[in-house]
């Protein structure tokens, strides 16, 4: 019986391991990979303390930090089921079964993808899913933003200050976002908005060079260097959907102590309803979740 099982080893999960290790908890980490989405970011310029670092380098530093402490890690092992029976949390993986007093869900989220040709090939080579992270890389360039909600509008507003020209590609006839943001976007002469427009393909050689669109049956190619795909996130919460409360976006609902509605089960980072999918935010939440789990264990009427 472990004190704690942590599922996931992105910024939230890794930070949770560091805090758990320093509290000398008897814990287990189960993670498909170490580094999470952080490792997929091209350039990270907003992780306080590192002025500039690639996502891969930062993820490596996280991993080294984690492995500085002795801990049991099941890397590459996939969780297939989680349940809580008589106060015991049972985690089943593709290779084993483990029991614990507490659990931290830190399984992250993934960007919703367009699923068009070129999208995978040019990821981090012009295709990005995070304007906050990557907008500054496209200074004075022509870019496309794909989406119809607040995150697409927000990406566009960020890019107005940075890029040369922004094509805002909306598959619908209008925006779902806030009026004020829509007005601001419409007011800018840097933005060309295309409605009822479907993205068919992302073009490029080494880097993105353009985007192929379809509007009312007619195809068109635009020359752009960046493609911001802002069609939402999907929390990796399927595993615990029947165990803890999710919000309508599928995120695990937590309070300010990272507690879910089930005692002893915590969640941290992008899988939770914490606002803003940012590395530094997820790391902070991982610390909170581990310290909360530690407090919960301290209060349990089990022997020290």
């Amino acid at each position: 019986m472990y004190d704690l099982i942590i599922i996931g080893a992105g910024p939230a999960g890794i930070t949770a391991t560091i805090y758990a290790a320093r509290k000398k908890l008897n814990f287990l980490v189960i993670a498909k990979n170490i580094g999470g989405q952080a490792a997929l970011s091209a350039d990270v310029e907003n992780y306080t303390g590192y002025q500039y670092i690639t996502g891969l380098e930062l993820a490596k530093k996280f991993e080294e930090h984690m492995k500085e402490f002795k801990m049991e890690v099941k890397e590459g092992e996939e969780v297939v089921g989680v349940e809580k029976i008589d106060g015991t949390i049972k985690v089943k993986t593709d290779r084993g079964a483990y029991e614990s007093k507490t659990l931290i869900i830190a399984t992250g989220a993934r960007s919703r993808t367009l699923d068009v040709p070129g999208e995978k090939e040019f990821k981090n080579r012009g295709v990005t899913y995070c304007a906050t992270c990557d907008a500054p890389l496209f200074a004075n360039m022509d870019v496309a933003v794909i989406g119809g909600g607040n995150s697409a509008l927000d990406a566009t507003l960020q890019l107005i200050k940075i890029a040369n020209k922004i094509y805002l590609i909306n598959i619908n006839p209008s925006f779902r976002g806030d009026d004020v943001m829509i007005e601001k976007v419409e007011k800018s002469d840097k933005v060309v908005t295309l409605y009822n427009t479907k993205t068919l393909e992302i073009l490029g050689d080494k880097m993105v060079t353009g985007i192929r669109l379809e509007k009312e049956g007619q195809q068109k190619i635009l020359d752009v260097r960046g493609v911001f795909i802002e069609i939402g996130y999907v929390a990796n919460s399927d595993l615990v959907a029947n165990l803890v409360e999710l919000n309508r976006r599928g995120e695990v609902v937590v309070d300010e102590h990272c507690k879910t509605n089930v005692p002893g089960i915590f969640a941290a980072g992008d899988v939770s309803n914490v606002p803003y999918k940012q590395i530094i935010v997820a790391a902070g939440e991982g610390a909170k979740a581990a310290l909360s789990a530690y407090e919960y264990l301290s209060r349990l009427r089990w022997p020290a």
Copy 2:
């Protein structure tokens, strides 16, 4: 008129500046010093990405990161008043007056001090205010913990796993903390609890060597290498006490978006009611506060 004023430049304030700069907000930072309490920590081993760094070095890296971006910083300037009049936030300092659409309060907290001789002299030379940060530095040593509440009990429980012997010095005849924690502390043969005991002085030469106590009129000296002062925190919220809602501990009450009860005013880090006074947590909250302020500005009916 600024878009944003940030008061304070500890981990929360600095991270807020990085996010504000990347959003190209027109903002001002006002801070007595740069680095905050982080700079005062002896050794930091739980800031994800840095396996080991001194507080001073980490604070320096934060400052360098901040100064990578162009921003207006009033360093050494002290805020003497903050008010919101007709939607405009007015910040008065000892040298000037500034106006802004939004405000982030990131003024941090300070540990409550004992105010006994030796306390200042041996700070970070055996005297510490953070068990989570510093307990691992006292492996197999004799230490004293001073306090009568959960944080003193928690510090003691952490030290049971690490130190040789822990003297728990409580000025009161009993503990205010949780029963389970008290039981665990009482059960450990590593802990010697002294009730009704006042700490008179912290002794040492280069480092702490002992502590002078008084119990029922009699004085006593204990040989210890570490003194954990766990008598609480004081949020630096005096300036805004008449402006925003504080909780009974004097912390600024914020929601999960770092919003206070006053529109346009946000708080982040140790000054707020966020649990756990940790650098990585404060940094995460600083990012949230800046992104929230940015969203608030995007929704204002002012021109872009």
